[in-house]
Point group: C2
Chain length 485, copies 2
Amino acid sequence: MSASSQRRLNYDNINPHVKAAKYAVRGELAVRSEEYRARLAKNDTSLPFNQIVSANIGNPQQLDQKPITFFRQVLSLVENPLLLENEDVLINSLGYKTDVIARAKWLLEKVGSVGAYSASNGAPAIRQSIADFLERRDGYPANQADIYMSAGASSGVNTLLHVICAGPSSGVLVPIPQYPLYTASLSLLNAQCVPYYLDEAHNWATDMDAVRTSLQEARKNDVDVRSIVVINPGNPTGASLSEEDVEAVIELARAEQLVIIADEVYQTNVFVGKFHSFKGVLRRMQEKNPGKYDNVELASLHSVSKGMVGECGHRGGYFELVGFDPQVQAEIYKFVSIMLCAPVVGQCLVELMVNPPKPGEPSYELYDKEYNGIYNGLRERAVALHKAFDQMEGVECGEPQGSMYLFPTIQLSEKAAAAAAAEGRTADEFYCLKMLEATGVCVVAGSGFGQKPNTLHFRTTFLAPGTEWVGSIIKFHKEFMDTYR
Amino acid sequence: MSASSQRRLNYDNINPHVKAAKYAVRGELAVRSEEYRARLAKNDTSLPFNQIVSANIGNPQQLDQKPITFFRQVLSLVENPLLLENEDVLINSLGYKTDVIARAKWLLEKVGSVGAYSASNGAPAIRQSIADFLERRDGYPANQADIYMSAGASSGVNTLLHVICAGPSSGVLVPIPQYPLYTASLSLLNAQCVPYYLDEAHNWATDMDAVRTSLQEARKNDVDVRSIVVINPGNPTGASLSEEDVEAVIELARAEQLVIIADEVYQTNVFVGKFHSFKGVLRRMQEKNPGKYDNVELASLHSVSKGMVGECGHRGGYFELVGFDPQVQAEIYKFVSIMLCAPVVGQCLVELMVNPPKPGEPSYELYDKEYNGIYNGLRERAVALHKAFDQMEGVECGEPQGSMYLFPTIQLSEKAAAAAAAEGRTADEFYCLKMLEATGVCVVAGSGFGQKPNTLHFRTTFLAPGTEWVGSIIKFHKEFMDTYR
């Protein structure tokens, strides 16, 4: 008997639902890219590239993006409140504005120490600030008691799916392609993912007929479909829903009694059209049709990780519940309390995100310049990358609309597919692995997000600065196509 | 049909395992205490007290405890690296020492921006720092690849139980009384909690006969017992295991093939005796008995929330795995990657905790003074509170040994039990509720942690400063006993 087989835990006896979960965004390719990065750091010159470009994950500050000064100045003060004993030094020698100091004092007054646990659902004053933001954004009141702060939006999704899914027959409609957090969480919960395909031919629009077909099919198979996930703007697709699209989802949710999970973490990453929040659209529908939509249940998520904030490492986020049963909310409260509270510095950052400097305030000018600089930079990079894809044989990609990603289709030869199969990989995984090995650029295969049968894609962020890495992809692609022609 | 009944989610159809989870530390009493706090803040004078003392949860900085200056100075710099452009101002005008600046630069070099996601299991350099600490602490090497950083220890426990428990028949031995994270997490996973009673008559020692009896009983009932949780020093008991106790647990784990989950978050909160880490004891046993203990699997947890650090709000922690199967570790890595990474500022704080200023370094003197001040303050408060319990009729409490809690036995009359039953409460819950209503002091009933049948307890932290609140408990207790005599 080998030593390994005498261990209590082995691959065959641990939780099968953990094993079933897939999360390609940080999977094999990402791990391998980190190995390459470590080799480069040790001056290994045997690799055909001299840098790793992590285009696999929306992680702006790992690449070029600088944090917004106002945010970080305030956070430096909440971390070390003793600095506030030297306001003159802060102002005269370190360039801190008076509104930075005022905000830090306000946060400290409300939160106490950022080293203390807050209320389980987040510091009350910060939840009120979020409610005020939602009211400004949507034109309808929001209640701080319906807001639950979370460690990034991911932890909020985990909470919501935990409460909604009651057993193996519970199902949730998930767009395909999707951010794999949803399928992974449903696997862990041993609940059913009910996929609905987005319409690539119409720039990844939400096709309500496809949703209805999936729903009916699942119900025919005795799946108790309880909820629909909508990612708007889309990840990985970037697609932004029109107001009519949002209305159609709400109408379906009402008619079919589905809880709406609106993943709106990219709400400010919109290049084409306009962001329409589910909350705002729902409130308008309720106003126009008294009584009709009163029982629609909506959970809307937001995060400091995306947008122009890009503060992924701070793990800040929240969700707002609309129309939920108070007893269900009490269970949600208990669930989040088991992990005590979201990181308090992250909570402070959420407050800064939803309540940034206003025109006329001392920090406004710099904030505005930095914010717009990031926004424009992202759009320019998206357009440049899109142009590059246009030149590549067998690659098609819709116009960049939003989020932080492009998700091109790739057509690969039968020879490439056979070479992939010989390695036990799908053709898109094989392609992405070869890209990493040749260029140091790490992207994620479309199969990590789901895609229609017989289609292949990859997802890349457009966060990385410079054009060299884009050139290296073009070159790799040409060589790959030639090799497997 | 009422509006509520038309909602998709209601108390009767949500996840039953969420409903089954209990977490009294942040339950009804804690919620009510926050309502009282809000009323006091609005100058409500109708309450019979003028402050809330949150003795329900080990949250030092919510009460009196000041953060350690070195930690927070470094964190202010990693939050706002632009401050490092003015080192002279930091040093000459703000009192930052050169080792603060050096550490911040080192962290920023290794982590990049604290606003970026780190590796899923934590920043490699910080994991190496933890490994170095473990090697110094235990005298045996540690490997950074076996360390997984987490959002506080709670999230680490969640990860471990998720992987270990494979289905409804999987069981985990949990000490009673225990920190309710364990029972709550097992409820969520629909796995079996196999309780073993600690020995109150011997100051809450771990009674190996009791463990064996529970284990055999559970196995007789077809529970697949896979793991044993040991909280050392104990929560809520404060008990600290001797080296022989730790050896006995390891011996049992070997003989019975149980994965050891060693919750060692109170490792520096020891007043009586000495902390013996499971890792250190295991390595010594392995050295003395070559081969015999090679397959023991140990997961050891630590946190920035407790000890003299007390930085709960930063949600920093880690666990180290010893003897785990590499394939199992790969699944643990995937599981943690789904939530992306632990808060990066919290990771930096873990680094500072395990690698504080050393004698001779510029920040050492202040650090040492602050650290010892907190340690001595905690011990003094524990002793004072213990003395108070000694005066109270029907209250018995062992000598304070460690952690942040006392867990006295209370003997209540049949009349009190009947009054409690009339309100649908246990007698200890009733007592604690009356205490809150009379004094503003929030403690947790023993039933929240588990206790032997026909015994009653409550848990209180000894973190709150001052003696007034202790006096108010003595007065309340006397009145309660007289009322229900």
